[in-house]
C-alpha cells in the first residue's frame, strides 16, 4: 500500500512539474486585436498555452472589453493579470500584462504598435490588417519579442521592416526570372 502511494506521489509531483511551465514570468502575456463585432484580427501569445485555453481567453476578453462603458478607464483586472485595452476606430487592442507591470507604459506600447502599423500601411484601417495580417505580425515581431519591448525607436523598426520586405522582394524577383 505504501509503495503504491509513493509512486502515486511521484506521479503527482511530475504532473506538478509539467504544470509549472505555465508559471513562467512574462511581462506581457498576450496581445489580441479584435473588431467591434468581436472578430479576432490578430493574436500573439507570449507564453505557451493550449489551443483550448486560447479560445477561452479570446472569448473572455472580447466579452469583457466589449461590455465596457465608454469613458471608462483602460484597465481591467482579470485573474492575476491586468488587461490594458484601447479602442482605435473599429478595432480593439487588448494587451495582458502581469499585475506589477506599468499600466501606463503598456498603454504606450499599444499606441506605439498602432503608430507602426499606421506608418507602414499609411492611414491604416481594419481591412489593411485583415488582408495583410502577416505583415501586421512581422511588424509586431520587430517591435516586441518574447513579451518584452525589443526596439524603442519607431524609425529603426520601420527601417528594419522595409529592409526585410526588400530582401523578400529581391528574392522573389530573382526566383521568378525565367530560368534560361
Amino acid at each position: 500500500m505504501q509503495k503504491k502511494s509513493k509512486t502515486l506521489l511521484l506521479l503527482i509531483h511530475q504532473l506538478l512539474c509539467i504544470y509549472q511551465f505555465n508559471y513562467h514570468l512574462r511581462k506581457m502575456r498576450f496581445l489580441l486585436l479584435f473588431s467591434r463585432q468581436g472578430k479576432l484580427r490578430l493574436q500573439k501569445w507570449f507564453t505557451p498555452i493550449s489551443e483550448r485555453e486560447k479560445k477561452k481567453i479570446i472569448r473572455d476578453m472580447t466579452n469583457m472589453v466589449l461590455a465596457r462603458q465608454p469613458r471608462s478607464s483602460n484597465f481591467l483586472d482579470w485573474k492575476d493579470l491586468k488587461i490594458i485595452y484601447k479602442r482605435y476606430a473599429s478595432l480593439y487592442f487588448c494587451l495582458a500584462i502581469e499585475s506589477q507591470e506599468n499600466e501606463l507604459l503598456a498603454l504606450e506600447v499599444i499606441h506605439r504598435y498602432v503608430e507602426l502599423l499606421d506608418k507602414y500601411f499609411g492611414n491604416v484601417c481594419e481591412l489593411d490588417i485583415i488582408f495583410n495580417f502577416e505583415k501586421a505580425y512581422f511588424i509586431l515581431d520587430e517591435f516586441l519579442m518574447g513579451g518584452e519591448i525589443q526596439e524603442t525607436s519607431k524609425q529603426i523598426v520601420n527601417r528594419c521592416i522595409e529592409s526585410s520586405d526588400m530582401l523578400q522582394e529581391t528574392m522573389e524577383e530573382y526566383m521568378s526570372k525565367p530560368a534560361f
Partner: protein
C-alpha cells in the same frame, strides 16, 4: 496581381457592411506626439480619406492572388455555414498542395492556412509544412514558415523539436534578417530543451558587433533564463558588458536581461549592484539630453528605456543603503523634471514613485513621491487615478497617515462609474478604516454596498464585517451594521456570517430584546435574503418571549401577538424562496417557541406534525423528532428547549469533560450543514447534562447505539450520532472534534510560515486547517495552496480565507482541507505553495508525512 479592395466584394455580410461603413471613419491619422487622444475622435476629424492605400511591397510580394482572394471569398460568405464550406474547400486544396512538390506557392498556402487558423478553424496539418519551410533557403518562405511555427507549434509538440536544427543553422546565417527570424522564434516558443541546446549560440551572438542582432539575442537570453534558470550564469558577463552600448534597443535588452538575472538569483543581484553608477549615468543621459528625434515620445526621451532602468534600480536598491544612496539624486531629478501632462510622462513618474517607495530612500524624497501620488489622485484621467490608488495601496501599511490624508478623494472614487476604479477605491477604503473614522467610513461603505456591481459585493461585505469586528464603537452599532449588510447584500455574504452573528447576538444579552424586535421587523419586510432570515428565525426562537412582551425601550412599542410571530415563521416555512437550511431554522424556531408562548402550543404542534411528511428528508426527520418530543417526552421539553447559554470564546479544549469528548468524537461531518446554526463553541457541561438526562430515560442511550436511538423516535434529529443530534436540539452546534492537537509548523522558508492543525472527526474523516503567515517586510499577494493526496483518499479543499498576506504577520490566511480516508491508507499530503512577493512569483512544495493528533 493584387487587387486593392477599392470596390469591395459585391456581396457582403452584415458584419462586412459594417466594416465598410467604417472605412470612412476607420482611417486613422496620428500625430506622433499626441498619445492621449481617443481613437474615435481622431477618425471623425480625418474622415476624408476614402481610398485604400496598398503599400508597394505588398503588391510585389504576391505573384499569385490566392491569399487575398481567399480572404475575400471567406468574407463574402453570407452565413456561418457558407463560410465553413468555403474554408473546407480551401483547406482541402491547401492540404493537396502541401503534398505536392515545391511549386513556388508554398508560402501563400501556409499564409492562407494561418488566416484560417485565426478564424478558429483547425490548422494543425500545417505543422510539418512549417518545419519544411523553415528549412527552405528562400527568405520569403522562411519568413512565413517561422511565423507559422510561432502560431501553430507549441513547445510541447514533437514537431517543435524538429526545428531546433534549422534554428541553429539560421542563427549563424550570413544575413541578419534570417538570424532575426530564428532569434524571434526561439524567444517566442523555445522549449527548455531547445534553450539548453542553443544557449551557447545566443551567448556568442550577444558578443556580436551587429546591434540589430545583439538586442534580439539579449531578449532571447531573457527567454532562456526564464525557461532554464541555471543558464543565467552563462549570460551574466555578456549582460554586464552590454551596458556600455549606445544603441537603445541593445541597452533596453541588456537592462531586461540583468533584471531577470537579479530577480532569479540573489548572488547575481549582489554582483550587479556594482552597475548602479552606470545605470544612473545612462538614466541621467536620458533625462538631461536634449531633443533626440529617434527616441522622443511626447517630449520624454525614450520612456520605454527609462521605465526599465527605473525598475532595475528598484530591484538593486531594495535592501541596500549604498545602492539607494547612489540613486537618490537621480530619482529626485526625474521626479521633479518629468512633464506630467502626457501619459508617457506619467508612466515614467509612476515608475519613479514606485522605485522611491521601494528602496531605502531619503525621507524628503519619499514625501515627494507620496505627493506625486496625491496629485495623480486628483487627475481627471481615470487611468491615472487608478494607478494612484494601486500604488497607495502598496504603501498604506507603511505610510498610513500619508494615505489617510487623501481619504476624501478615495472615498469619492467609490462613486466612479468605472468598475476597475471602484475596485481599487474599495480596497484602499477598506485599508483606511480605523477606530477614529469607522462611523463615517462605514456610512460610505454601506452606501457603496447598496449600489456596487455584483462582483464586488462579496468583497465589500466581508471587508465591512472585518472592519466592524475590529473597530466597532459599540455592540449595538456592530449588530446594526451586520444586519444592514444582510438586508442589502444578504446573498453575497460568506457562510460563516450567520453563526458569527448569532454568537455576537447571544453574547450581548442586554440587546436581546432590541435585536429580536429589529429582526422581526426585517423578517416582515423581506424574506428573500436567506442569511438574514436564518438569523431572524434563530432569534425569534430563542428570544420569542422578549418579542411578545414588547417592552423594549429603544424601539417604538410594537404589540406583537403570538399568532403574528407564528404567521411569519410559517410564511418562511412555506415560501418557495426559502432554502432548505432556512426552513430548518424556521422549524426549530417554531419548536422553541412552544415553551415561550402560552396559548398557541397546539398550533405549533400541528405545524410540526405537518412537516413530519415533508418531502425534504432533513426537515421531515426533524419534524418527526420534534413530534416525538411533544408526545413521548413532553416532561423534558422545557429543559431541552431552554435558551442557549452565552458562548464563551476559545473555551474549547480546556473545559470539555471526558464524556462530552466521547460524545462529540462520534459526530460526523455530515451534520455540519444542517439547518441549525452551527456554533463553533459550547460549554461542555451542557452536553454532559443532556447525556445524563438521556441516561435517565426509559431507553438508555449510549453514544454508540446510534441506530436504535433514531429508530425509537428519540428526540434526535439526525441518524448519524447521538451526541451531535442532541447538540442540534439545543439550538445547534457545529460538531467539534476532540481536544485538537497543537498546530505544527510544516513549512518555513523565505519568511512564509505554514502551520497545520489536524482535527479528526470520525474514523476516516479528518479536517486539516492550514494557516499561513508572512513575516517578511513586504506583502505577499496571490497566495494559493494546492494539495495532493494518494488516490484512495478523498480530498476537499474549502475556500481559503483570502489570498493576500500583509507584511510582518499582520494577517493570516487559513484554508480548511477535509480528508476522507476510507481505506485507511498511510496518509500523506503534498502541499504546493505559490505566491507573488515583491513582483516575483515563488512556488514551493512541501510533503507532510505525519499528521499530529492522529
Amino acid at each position: 496581381m493584387f487587387h486593392p479592395p477599392v470596390g469591395a466584394p459585391a456581396v457582403e455580410r452584415a458584419e462586412d457592411m459594417n466594416s465598410r461603413d467604417q472605412i470612412a471613419e476607420v482611417c486613422w491619422c496620428f500625430q506622433p506626439t499626441d498619445c492621449c487622444r481617443v481613437g474615435g475622435r481622431l477618425n471623425r476629424s480625418s474622415s476624408l480619406i476614402l481610398f485604400w492605400r496598398v503599400p508597394l511591397h505588398c503588391t510585389a510580394m504576391s505573384p499569385s492572388i490566392p491569399l487575398q482572394e481567399m480572404i475575400r471569398a471567406i468574407r463574402s460568405a453570407r452565413t456561418q455555414c457558407e463560410e465553413r464550406g468555403v474554408i473546407q474547400r480551401e483547406c482541402a486544396a491547401i492540404r493537396a498542395q502541401f503534398r505536392q512538390a515545391d511549386n513556388g506557392a508554398r508560402s501563400h498556402n501556409l499564409a492562407k492556412l494561418l488566416y484560417v487558423h485565426m478564424l478558429g478553424y483547425p490548422a494543425h496539418f500545417g505543422q510539418m509544412e512549417c518545419v519544411r519551410m523553415i528549412a527552405s533557403p528562400r527568405y520569403s518562405e522562411k519568413r512565413v514558415g517561422y511565423l507559422g511555427a510561432m502560431m501553430l507549434l507549441d513547445e510541447k509538440q514533437d514537431a517543435s523539436l524538429l526545428i531546433t536544427n534549422s534554428i541553429k543553422n539560421d542563427l549563424s546565417h550570413s544575413n541578419q534578417y534570417v538570424q532575426s527570424l530564428a532569434l524571434c522564434t526561439l524567444a517566442c516558443m523555445g522549449s527548455a530543451e531547445m534553450c539548453r541546446d542553443l544557449a551557447p549560440e545566443i551567448d556568442r551572438l550577444l558578443r556580436a558587433s551587429n546591434s540589430y542582432i545583439k538586442k534580439k539575442a539579449a531578449l532571447c537570453a531573457v527567454h532562456i533564463v526564464r525557461k532554464v534558470h541555471e543558464l543565467g550564469e552563462l549570460f551574466a558577463p555578456a549582460a554586464r558588458s552590454l551596458l556600455t552600448e549606445k544603441n537603445h534597443g541593445v541597452l533596453h535588452g541588456a537592462v531586461v536581461l540583468i533584471t531577470e538575472l537579479c530577480e532569479r538569483n540573489p548572488e547575481a543581484l549582489e554582483r550587479f549592484r556594482k552597475t548602479v553608477p552606470d545605470l544612473v549615468q545612462i538614466m541621467k543621459g536620458l533625462v538631461i539630453s536634449g531633443y533626440s528625434p529617434e527616441h522622443d515620445v511626447a517630449g520624454i526621451s525614450d520612456p520605454f528605456l527609462q521605465v526599465r532602468i527605473l525598475r532595475l534600480l528598484r530591484i538593486l536598491g531594495r535592501h541596500s543603503e549604498t545602492a539607494s544612496d547612489a540613486m537618490n539624486d537621480l530619482l529626485a531629478q526625474v521626479a521633479t523634471n518629468t512633464d506630467s501632462t502626457k501619459t508617457v510622462g506619467n508612466a515614467v513618474l509612476y515608475e519613479t514613485v514606485l522605485t522611491v517607495l521601494d528602496i531605502k530612500s531619503e525621507s524628503g524624497l519619499r514625501v515627494l513621491a507620496v505627493n506625486i501620488l496625491g496629485r495623480f489622485l486628483l487627475n481627471n484621467d481615470r487611468n491615472i487615478r487608478y494607478i494612484a490608488m494601486m500604488s497607495l495601496q502598496k504603501i498604506v501599511g507603511t505610510d498610513h497617515n500619508a494615505v489617510q490624508r487623501h481619504r476624501g478623494t478615495i472615498v469619492d472614487c467609490l462613486k466612479d462609474h468605472d468598475a476597475s476604479v471602484k475596485r481599487r477605491a474599495l480596497e484602499l477604503s477598506l485599508a483606511l478604516v480605523s477606530a477614529s473614522n469607522i462611523r463615517s467610513m462605514m456610512k460610505e461603505l454601506l452606501l457603496f454596498l447598496s449600489s456596487c456591481p455584483p462582483e464586488l459585493r462579496a468583497q465589500t461585505a466581508s471587508g465591512i464585517f472585518n472592519a466592524a469586528e475590529r473597530y466597532a464603537p459599540s455592540q449595538r452599532w456592530h449588530i446594526d451594521t451586520i444586519l444592514h449588510v444582510l438586508t442589502t447584500a444578504g446573498g453575497d455574504v460568506r457562510d460563516e456570517t450567520v453563526p458569527n452573528l448569532i454568537q455576537l447576538i447571544t453574547n450581548t444579552s442586554e440587546l436581546h430584546c432590541y435585536t429580536v424586535h429589529k429582526l422581526y421587523r426585517a423578517l416582515l419586510t423581506d424574506i428573500s435574503q436567506q442569511p438574514l432570515v436564518q438569523v431572524a428565525c434563530w432569534c425569534i426562537g430563542e428570544y420569542g418571549d422578549l418579542l411578545l412582551k414588547g417592552e423594549c425601550q429603544e424601539t417604538e412599542p410594537a404589540q406583537v401577538t403570538e399568532d403574528d410571530v407564528l404567521d411569519s415563521l410559517e410564511t418562511v416555512l412555506q415560501s418557495h424562496m426559502s432554502a432548505p437550511a432556512t426552513r430548518g431554522f424556521a422549524l426549530t424556531a417554531t419548536m422553541k417557541l412552544s415553551t415561550r408562548i402560552t396559548d398557541n402550543v397546539d398550533r405549533i404542534r400541528s405545524i410540526v406534525s405537518i412537516y413530519g411528511s415533508c418531502i425534504d428528508v432533513e426537515l421531515q426527520q426533524r419534524a418527526v423528532e420534534y413530534n416525538a418530543l411533544f408526545k413521548k417526552y413532553d416532561h423534558m421539553r422545557a429543559a431541552v428547549l431552554e435558551r442557549m447559554p452565552v458562548i464563551e470564546k476559545n473555551s474549547l479544549g480546556q473545559t470539555n469533560g471526558e464524556s462530552a469528548v466521547e460524545a462529540i468524537k462520534a459526530v460526523q461531518p455530515a451534520t455540519v450543514k444542517q439547518g441549525e446554526p452551527p456554533l463553533p463553541l459550547q460549554p461542555a457541561n451542557q452536553v454532559c447534562d443532556l447525556l445524563d438526562l438521556l441516561g435517565g430515560s426509559e431507553e438508555p442511550l449510549q453514544p454508540s447505539s446510534v441506530q436504535s436511538g433514531t429508530a425509537s423516535g428519540l428526540p434526535i434529529n439526525n441518524s448519524s450520532t447521538a451526541g451531535g443530534d442532541l447538540l442540534d436540539l439545543l439550538g445547534g452546534f457545529e460538531p467539534t472534534p476532540a481536544a485538537p492537537a497543537p498546530a505544527v509548523t510544516v513549512y518555513e522558508k523565505d519568511g512564509v510560515n505554514l502551520t497545520l492543525l489536524c482535527e479528526k472527526h470520525s474514523d476516516s474523516g479528518l479536517t486539516v486547517t492550514l494557516t499561513a503567515s508572512n513575516s517578511n517586510d513586504s506583502d505577499i499577494s496571490s497566495f494559493t495552496l494546492q494539495a495532493a493526496v494518494p488516490k484512495s483518499v478523498q480530498l476537499h479543499m474549502k475556500a481559503p480565507s483570502g489570498d493576500f498576506l500583509p507584511a510582518r504577520g499582520a494577517a493570516k490566511v487559513t484554508q480548511m482541507v477535509v480528508l476522507n480516508n476510507p481505506n485507511k491508507v498511510n496518509l500523506k499530503m503534498r502541499v504546493r505553495i505559490s505566491y507573488t512577493s515583491q513582483g516575483s512569483a515563488c512556488q514551493d512544495t512541501v510533503q507532510i508525512d505525519s499528521f499530529p493528533g492522529l
